[in-house]
Symmetry: C2
Subunit: 194 residues, 2 copies
Amino acid sequence: MDVRESLLKATVKVFAEAGARGATTRRIAQEAGVNEVTLFRHFKSKDDLLECALRTLAELAADRKLPDIPADPVAELTEWARDHHRMLHKYRALIRKTMGEFEENPSLCACTCSATIKMTSDLADYLKTLQLRGLAHPGFNTHAAAAMLMGALFADAISRDAMPDRFPYSMKESVDLAMPLFFQAIGLTTRKKS
Amino acid sequence: MDVRESLLKATVKVFAEAGARGATTRRIAQEAGVNEVTLFRHFKSKDDLLECALRTLAELAADRKLPDIPADPVAELTEWARDHHRMLHKYRALIRKTMGEFEENPSLCACTCSATIKMTSDLADYLKTLQLRGLAHPGFNTHAAAAMLMGALFADAISRDAMPDRFPYSMKESVDLAMPLFFQAIGLTTRKKS
DNA sequence: CGAGCAAGCAAGTAACCACTTGCTTTTATC
DNA sequence: GATAAAAGCAAGTGGTTACTTGCTTGCTCG
């Protein structure tokens, strides 16, 4: 593996464990199996390294997309939500750290946020299409509904290990329990269109 | 104001701005208008100070309660959600920082989490009562529904300033938009019981 | 007034941090 | 096998951090 590549990978790992201040260049270099000086030969500063690492990660995390034309909304939304929830959970530590960095290091935060913003807007578009095709209640605000589902998945994935009492069911179950509530909220019948 | 008290207050403020590592004892003492040495005369270490500060804050943040016997569920839930959302938003920076501290400083995290855990369980109880009294759909999982609403409010309050594009409506509107969706989800009629 | 306590102040300690410099060793390429 | 680029290594610099020590000042209470 390329040295630069392994440095980026190590940075993501150490940052997720220790945050921006805790991710020392020493520790990152050690994790990458590389001399600390080499780190500074590839990146002009620690901030530069952090930003590169998070940016490339956000680019890689290109996700499943919702179809433009809904065929089986219940199945499509359920599968999409499961994927998204899985990804949020995988990167939960890193997401928590970047959110904490918002005031001090907004550019880092923006890297991680970009993916979420795009997905929420995609979801809102999909819901709008459902409304226009008469597959969902016409009255609700699609942005609010999208934010609600995204928020529920987000909070579950992020805070699950910090407060296990609050989630007395497994990660897999949680999506299965949340989705019917969401379908009910937007007026989507749980039976598949045949 | 008592020296100890002003130190606790300053700690909360500085921690919310800069996180655990960024909240230096120098900066906290300065914010409190107190000599740094005095800080160490009142608290045996920085960690001790942080934990005391967050713990007393969590105790103060005792919130509005849902009634044991639902009278006007729509109004009661709406007002409760508005209050909770307002509080989350007020402490959003501090909450983001404590969440980022989960791996390195779980005891700090536990202070802030305790309030949320209690409120979620109260909400779930209230929803259960609605079900038992035939005021809501009997089928849904009350824990999942509670987690969903709490999650939606949480995500809105916490990430609103990090990604304004995702929330194209004001903070006040957001609760008003989310609640009807939630009522629909749990099968609560939006008309008041007269 | 006078004893005792709380706070201020100056200075210092030991550790850690990002980052640099000068030099040697490895590795790839022609 | 020569050449050059990339990586390792030892050491150091200047800054910051939590926390300590010794001494002085001010305030309170009897």
